[in-house]
Symmetry: C5
Amino acid sequence: MGRKRSRKRIKRWVPAGTLPGTLVAHAEAGLEPVQIHIFSYDPDRCEERVLRPGEIPSLRVPEKGVLWLDVRGLSDTAIVKAVGDRFGFHPLALEDVLNIPQRPKVDRYENHLLIILREVTYPVETEQMSMFLSDRLVATFQERPGDPFEPIRDRLRKGLGKIRSLGADYLLYSLCDAVVDSIFPTLEKLGEEVETLEETVISDPVPQTLREIREVKKQLLEIRRAIWPARDAMSELLREDSGVIRPGTRVFLRDCYDHTIQVMDMVETYREMAASLVDEYISSVSNRMNEIMKVLTIMATIFIPLSFIAGVYGMNFDHQVSPFNMPELYWRYGYLFALFLMAATAGGLLCYFRKKKWL
Amino acid sequence: MGRKRSRKRIKRWVPAGTLPGTLVAHAEAGLEPVQIHIFSYDPDRCEERVLRPGEIPSLRVPEKGVLWLDVRGLSDTAIVKAVGDRFGFHPLALEDVLNIPQRPKVDRYENHLLIILREVTYPVETEQMSMFLSDRLVATFQERPGDPFEPIRDRLRKGLGKIRSLGADYLLYSLCDAVVDSIFPTLEKLGEEVETLEETVISDPVPQTLREIREVKKQLLEIRRAIWPARDAMSELLREDSGVIRPGTRVFLRDCYDHTIQVMDMVETYREMAASLVDEYISSVSNRMNEIMKVLTIMATIFIPLSFIAGVYGMNFDHQVSPFNMPELYWRYGYLFALFLMAATAGGLLCYFRKKKWL
Amino acid sequence: MGRKRSRKRIKRWVPAGTLPGTLVAHAEAGLEPVQIHIFSYDPDRCEERVLRPGEIPSLRVPEKGVLWLDVRGLSDTAIVKAVGDRFGFHPLALEDVLNIPQRPKVDRYENHLLIILREVTYPVETEQMSMFLSDRLVATFQERPGDPFEPIRDRLRKGLGKIRSLGADYLLYSLCDAVVDSIFPTLEKLGEEVETLEETVISDPVPQTLREIREVKKQLLEIRRAIWPARDAMSELLREDSGVIRPGTRVFLRDCYDHTIQVMDMVETYREMAASLVDEYISSVSNRMNEIMKVLTIMATIFIPLSFIAGVYGMNFDHQVSPFNMPELYWRYGYLFALFLMAATAGGLLCYFRKKKWL
Amino acid sequence: MGRKRSRKRIKRWVPAGTLPGTLVAHAEAGLEPVQIHIFSYDPDRCEERVLRPGEIPSLRVPEKGVLWLDVRGLSDTAIVKAVGDRFGFHPLALEDVLNIPQRPKVDRYENHLLIILREVTYPVETEQMSMFLSDRLVATFQERPGDPFEPIRDRLRKGLGKIRSLGADYLLYSLCDAVVDSIFPTLEKLGEEVETLEETVISDPVPQTLREIREVKKQLLEIRRAIWPARDAMSELLREDSGVIRPGTRVFLRDCYDHTIQVMDMVETYREMAASLVDEYISSVSNRMNEIMKVLTIMATIFIPLSFIAGVYGMNFDHQVSPFNMPELYWRYGYLFALFLMAATAGGLLCYFRKKKWL
Amino acid sequence: MGRKRSRKRIKRWVPAGTLPGTLVAHAEAGLEPVQIHIFSYDPDRCEERVLRPGEIPSLRVPEKGVLWLDVRGLSDTAIVKAVGDRFGFHPLALEDVLNIPQRPKVDRYENHLLIILREVTYPVETEQMSMFLSDRLVATFQERPGDPFEPIRDRLRKGLGKIRSLGADYLLYSLCDAVVDSIFPTLEKLGEEVETLEETVISDPVPQTLREIREVKKQLLEIRRAIWPARDAMSELLREDSGVIRPGTRVFLRDCYDHTIQVMDMVETYREMAASLVDEYISSVSNRMNEIMKVLTIMATIFIPLSFIAGVYGMNFDHQVSPFNMPELYWRYGYLFALFLMAATAGGLLCYFRKKKWL
């Protein structure tokens, strides 16, 4: 599965030389119908409803209020085009929405911003969140339904906090913050995996362990690739001074920026832990191997001189020819002497090994 | 072949102290005749034709239109010189066109820009694309025929999109974008090679596998060397404010710059995967070796005491001299006792090894 | 224990999409009652007392003096909120106080600064110190009672030095300096551990040694994570020009900044030493293993030809059939000859090994 | 020789506390007499001659022309001092000329520039080139005769190109370019060595191969040390705006700067190739070792059970005592049975090993 | 000794929360009495004398001249305090003088500069040199007597060069230069050690060699820690524009800055050499080990089949029962046949090994 995901991530490009701004549905966009939701709110009220594609051209931003257009699914390029036409989004920006995956980034266009971030779910899978911010309008495009925005919708519905009165830039901040914060639970789970592996590596290091460590490392790398440019994007958003983002929202964006740094910190920590796990695995395996080899070699070494002694007394020199030929064989206690010689040799070697601390 | 390519890439220099701006045909330029094509277009029409070298001095940029001079092949330095003379390109710039390979870069001259990029084809081979941009003129020099510009030519011929009305800088962008995008399919193929190798490394790691991993790494390195400075070049082009590039084109160049970053991202990802493949190969091989050594050593260790016992009862101590000399040999069940002793020893060792989890 | 700590460090996040500025007690905040102390002083006097939570709303900054509000423990969010309300601290700042752990940092708000540092105790455990600086006010929030501020309290009580007359920014400096300096004794202890391990690695390298080295490395990494951003924070404080920090205090802050650099220097030195300890451990272990294998292999190698000779003279070729069959067995000194042959072989091999410096 | 060279490079310092600007002949300057050549030219003519040391004080820069003073050899400090006195070079600059080796650099003095570069010859040996540029004057100091400037002298003599009319800064550029370009042939030769080693590593990896790889790496490192600061120096020269370098020369200097980058690129490529050669060597050697150990261990393992069987039937249990004692010895086909048992055992093991793919 | 030094370097801190500017004698300051020397000079004369501590308060800077106050030893904090009081040095600056070790640095105070550098002696030991520069005054504090300043004192005494007329900033430069240059001889000695080790590693690699390599690496690291921040300090001094350093001195400081870079270059070169020595050592040791194992394994492998043959003919199958039982034993040349079989086997194996290039 890990492999499939990584392949998906990379099979991506529009044929070289294609007309820029051409909108092509992504190969993996699937066939699920696109869902369009809108939230139209001002400080006093909040209207939420499902939109039919045909209604897009006549969509209006509420007077003195904010419109949040939430498109879930990218299978129908006509909808993306219709939204772009209605609100004057740049064709290249729309291309980036469809042309998945894009690196997280902030792109400034004449009268709107495009913010691209990646949501991370567990087991590690990322989803591109494209968000347009323009005057009193936020338009979000998700790859598929399912997102971390439900608490924000609740706050809009119930008028919790000041979200209804703080404008489109504050809504954008809230969405960005939700996307960034959605990484924490996944990281926590990976952290637990790392800790479990830490114990496995010491107690039972098998090749499978190594493969699991590598799988965790890959997932951390994928999060890293999602969060690293996201940090730059948030920092750029912070320094954005085109007027689309009001000074009052900046302090919130700084908080969100801090969160991206915290995510990165955690990712780096886990990556270091995982990297040291590989070393620990290798040292644990080689330790085991050494232990085996040592014990077996020592055993072999003890028996070698014993077998030699047995071999000597198995020789067939003829005692009848001369008394010098193997007189031991004709001693009264010859056999016992030989056994004793063997025992003494073995004992001596054992002492020597023990003295050398090889046992 | 990989070796040949890398050699070609490096055998390159004009003798130290040569008059700067001297135009020397590259040693590997080959003898193929140079092809010259021109596109002369304005919003309403597009003329495309093959040019004879003799026509260069009388070449004109169409009034209110754009001229694209496309030179394919570098074997004839006279043509390069003629183009340079006709349009006032700097001698050092022309030297860079011929003096292959140059790093991708953007060089500003008084009234023209020189952009050098590298096209990448599969199996990884790079080709220098030198592009001059000056007022309503784009001149491109390729090492040899064959390029990713066909879709652009089609758009020019058929008047697709706004390419005919957007000026020379937009044409330049389109060419740059085509060159950068031409890397994606090659990367995809390398990505597949990496994945195939990933499986081979686990299932059947032979030295040849390692050599293939290294070949992939070399190819990725070569792409990296082509794309890394290309990114800087695109970024410089973005910040270019001499008026040759109009503000409207900038947003397209930023998109092209984003593509170079995406290529780099993918290259780095594959490089990391390939690097970890080497580690995985080494650990896979040493794993195998360990397994062999372990089983064999254990086997040897079991037989060593057995052979010792057989050796003992092969000794020739004379029972007739004294009853203490090898009485076992004269027991009724002596042989069975010896066989049982051997079986017990072997069984005991097997149990011990199994308890220690060495088996 | 090391594991527990690291787990604590990472289990941290407010659910994605939570209303920003929501104050939630940290899961590990414990149930100990919060202690609130205040120091209210001007150059002439210093009042110190314990505050009841109910008194917070009516708390006053002394005219021409400084108020230090010292909150120990974070279990009661109401107190944090009351302090925030009384002095106008930003909700996001208060969230950072409770939302542990935060990276050390300096956050500017409209009329106050938030400085977050980490105290380090031995065995390595870090505690977040959140400090607010505003006009003639310092408010500190600690995770739990116990801090390195006692000498500062003494100087305030006894009016030692100029601390009473140098304003809130000087008090803030003193607190920061105390937090940074609190790391030195811990580092010293880790340094001693490293030195002990250095000897163990050479004299008696067991897997446990490796685990201890890794434990030290982890602790050093944790200090590094505490001090690295602290250095940036102090440097930002140095460059702070909002008027909250007076020029006269700057020279002291620079000194404190120097201390953070010294801590980092020491941490990096110890980290390098610990890293080289791992290498030394591995080389020490492999050295031992090599020594064992070498001696044992040599021993085996010497006995192999001896056993072969014994085997030869244990063959049963029938001398009666022909005088060519094993005549040695019927020599007068055959046995002695065989023993001599064995001794000569063994001696020759020993000489050869000695000449090759394998012994 | 490599070692000698590196020693030369490092044995260098003036005793601490020496009067700054003291001119001391370098210990390795040798005793060869110093050669002084001058080129005195303007657009119309070029005078070239050998200068006697005594003529230095009366040397003149030609009106409207350029003087190139070319000193080859540093054994006579009096000459260096005389040149310095005549043209007002700073004592510290002169000290740098003599005090070899200096890092490549550009030093600005009140009315002159000092440019230091390193020429590289094959086998890798570097030579310091110190060049002074001041108004219509270039003075070069070489460690010893022999340089890559001959083509420039030819162009001066024959008036090729515009060198005679483009001033002292253009001459300086030409000299710098010649020094930088002199590195390419050496790099090419090192590249060939790397390729030869690449094949040796696979076909016949002996310790000598490793030593040769290291020698190449050292030489590449030495070039790197020469070219890395040279790039900075050229970049500084490019940004030089004191008027000594005219805008028209800048485009040429940029070309020279590009060449330093190309050299660095090639050096880094070769260094990477050499580094991967070391890995390849190690893996090639360990591969061989593994192959040997495996085959030998397998062979030993096959014979061990066979010897055991032979040992069993060499036991002396007395058949006469009981029919249970080694009845096989008295079977009609006992011997054949034993031989068959051995063959079957060996065959079984071989099959097993082959099935496990150990053979 | 190396260990002791490193311990000294790290046991250092004032208890957290201590009154800033508190002067505490360093624990290792020793009990040697402090020596105070002064040089009071102007262009025409130079007075040198030993100062009693009691004279400090009445010390005067000579009109139109320069005073160099040279304090050797730090055991008496009263003297440091008296000097600080007399010349108005900042308490924090004085603290840095006593609080050893400080990182090399430049600290600006209202009317004086504090420059801290580290002298390096062989065997590598560093000593903190604290230098104050203020209007016509240089005050130096050394940890103990013994310094590289003697040549400067000589130049002052004898009026060599322009040192007497160039002011306090030039004196400061001279002192800095002497401290930096004092590192060269030590580096040269370490360079010789590295070269000696290079030969030992190939000819006779024992664990002791590795320990010596590590000792050299530690010493190089210590020099690096002394010189790296010193370079920053010198660069800061160069950019110092408070008027204390006159433009004329700047060119000398640049020279000194160049020297720090040269030292760093040499240190990095030696560090690289030492690092590659470790690799070379490991490969040399493993090479030896491989050689031993190979030869011994081959020897064992040759004897194994020989012993097997001997074992076969040591079996006791009864020829009298059947002619199939070991007929060889009763052949006329049976024994010779067996010996020949053994010789042929051994020879065949040797040929095979030789063909495989294992011998």
